[in-house]
């Protein structure tokens, strides 16, 4: 089901990230994504950063042409939206470590919010290039999560990668689950850090997407299609996929190393 929506609210989250809110009725769960059509441009998969009620939202980081163009969208502008698609997070765990890098916090924030509302305790390891690019740090804090930060330039929290913070937290505190979204190499590292402790990891994976219907094979990842079998995968499933963290496929279907 494709609908055309008018953007109801535009919020600059960080210098390179904006949230667009829009009226969209279909129910959605954290972890699911929509295909966002920027008319005249492209259509991209975007996780719902706001999943509740009829005012949904996506949070977009400027990367290439289209995501940059999305930055320029104003309130009232029209977008095509179809979805929601994909498998959501399992919200059962009680003690959750959330590890987000880059725009990864976009999908993790609503999941953490819902888990908190269900009574879970949430610890967040949040990474960004620099302090001002930390996404949803305040949103995580205001839901009552403990937030630990790493920035590449050390402007806030640890200097370096968020994977270091995550490894430390997993060592210190007992968790029932680790949820992570970000660059795939980062997620692979989180997997590796959590595995020896026996903490189950859940990853929200990104792949090039076209149909989002489990048909065109663009998002193939080993035996899975990220659009329908994911984007939220258990670390166990991904451990059996040699390409995870190593290769993705370009729009022609060629395997390309990360």
């Amino acid at each position: 089901m494709r609908t055309v929506v008018a953007v109801s609210e535009r919020v600059g989250e960080t210098p390179s990230t904006v949230t667009l809110r829009f009226p969209f009725d279909p129910p959605a769960d954290p972890g699911q994504f929509v295909m966002v059509w920027v008319p005249g441009d492209d259509e991209l998969p975007m996780s719902l950063s706001y999943t509740d009620g009829t005012s949904k939202g996506v949070t977009v980081k400027a990367m290439g042409d289209t995501s940059r163009r999305i930055q320029a969208i104003r309130e009232g502008d029209a977008l095509g939206i179809r979805g929601p698609y994909g498998k959501p997070f399992d919200l059962a765990p009680r003690r959750i470590l959330v590890v987000g890098g880059g725009s990864g916090a976009a999908v993790l924030a609503p999941a953490a919010e819902k888990a908190r509302a269900l009574g879970a305790s949430v610890t967040v390891a949040l990474g960004a290039t620099t302090r001002r690019e930390l996404l949803f740090a305040d949103r995580f804090r205001s839901m009552g999560a403990t937030v630990a930060v790493a920035t590449d330039d050390g402007t806030e929290g640890d200097r370096g990668f968020v994977t270091g913070v995550a490894a430390r937290l997993v060592g210190e505190t007992p968790f029932d689950a680790v949820w992570t979204c970000g660059p795939e190499i980062m997620m692979r590292k989180v997997l590796d850090a959590a595995a020896p402790r026996g903490v189950p990891v859940t990853c929200a994976v990104e792949r090039h997407m076209k149909c989002a219907l489990g048909m065109c094979d663009a998002c193939a990842l080993g035996p899975y299609h990220v659009c329908t079998d994911g984007p939220v995968f258990s670390g166990v499933a991904l451990a059996g996929v040699p390409d995870f963290g190593r290769y993705h496929r370009d729009p022609s279907g060629r395997r390309v190393p990360f």
Binding site: V4, D41, K210, M215, R249, G253
Partner: protein, 310 residues
């Protein structure tokens, strides 16, 4: 249970349900997945000479459960990369049919030749994509072109060659006859119907490419008519494609003249588990109709007596 073996063009398949080209066929793991789910064989994505990213998104539009419009634009990793994917599928035990598309007879032949080396059991020629400039219907609408391309490929490869035909034509049987003259071991029909969707709020075509191809239940009657006319015209076997999602649909095609069928859009609507279900359901359906072997049903509707009770 009824015998579902499909025999045609020198092939013997465990059941008549092939994964259609362009669905789940870009990666070897996905081909293997469809095979493991129960497909009788799997057809690869149509492969070209060079890697092609395809058209920008949006590339698909859906109509409830009865139709889909797509303009993928023949994305594919190219013939240099693709043998790796066939290898992955073959290691999983899959029976793989290779699909190729080209701009002229020589390109088709060269691609077929390369793909034939990978262990595929047959080559399907995509003479019928309705939305790729310089390919597909643009080279598959004229019987002379079809004959020439098929002949060139048949000369190059020892495998059975299946010409996949377009429904966007006044006379599908004439295209099939041309393929037969060119030496095709079989024809398959149909590819998608040329179609368009407009978003009235955005005042533009939905698909980035504008024109696309219609698939799914909506095109089943058209596919059946093509198979019917082709069966009446040529003596090589026909593979039926278009809107198949239930065992009844497949049997309609078989009774109209098909020896096997390909399943595309229904995989998106139902998931790959559809292959297992189709096999079970077709077995049950044939049993309930007292048909012992699927082969016995081929072309049956052409022989229906008139004026008598069945």
């Amino acid at each position: 249970m009824a015998d579902l073996t499909a025999r045609f063009a020198g092939l013997t398949l465990r059941n008549p349900f092939l994964l259609a080209s362009g669905i789940w066929g870009e990666s070897g793991d996905s081909l293997a997945g469809a095979w493991n789910a129960g497909a009788g064989a799997v057809v690869t994505k149509s492969i070209g000479t060079k890697p092609r990213p395809g058209y920008p998104n949006p590339t698909v539009e859906t109509y409830e459960r009865w139709g889909m419009l797509n303009a993928m634009g023949l994305p594919n990793p190219g013939i240099d990369e693709y043998p790796r994917e066939v290898e992955v599928a073959r290691r999983a035990g899959a029976t793989v049919v290779g699909s190729v598309f080209g701009g002229d007879a020589e390109e088709f032949a060269a691609l077929a030749g390369r793909l034939a080396e990978t262990g595929v059991v047959a080559i399907e020629l995509n003479l019928s994509c309705p939305h790729a400039e310089g390919f597909g219907t643009e080279v598959g609408s004229d019987p002379r072109d079809v004959e020439e391309i098929v002949r060139a490929v048949v000369r190059r490869v020892r495998l059975p060659v299946i010409a996949k035909l377009t429904p966007n034509t006044a006379d599908p049987a004439a295209l099939a006859a041309a393929a037969e003259r060119g030496g095709a071991a079989a024809v398959s029909a149909i590819n998608t119907l040329r179609g368009l969707a407009v978003d009235v709020r955005l005042r533009r075509p939905v698909l980035a490419h504008g024109l696309g191809g219609l698939s799914g239940p909506a095109i089943k009657p058209v596919g059946l008519a093509c198979v019917w006319q082709i069966f009446d015209t040529v003596s090589i076997p026909v593979v039926g494609i278009g809107g198949i999602g239930r065992a009844e649909d497949a049997l309609e095609y078989v009774m109209a003249g098909a020896r096997a069928v390909e399943v595309g859009t229904a995989v998106a609507f139902e998931g790959v588990g559809i292959f297992g279900r189709l096999v079970r359901d077709l077995g049950g359906l044939l049993d309930s109709l007292g048909i012992a072997r699927l082969e016995d049903a081929v072309g049956l509707a052409h022989r229906a007596p008139s004026g008598t009770m069945p």
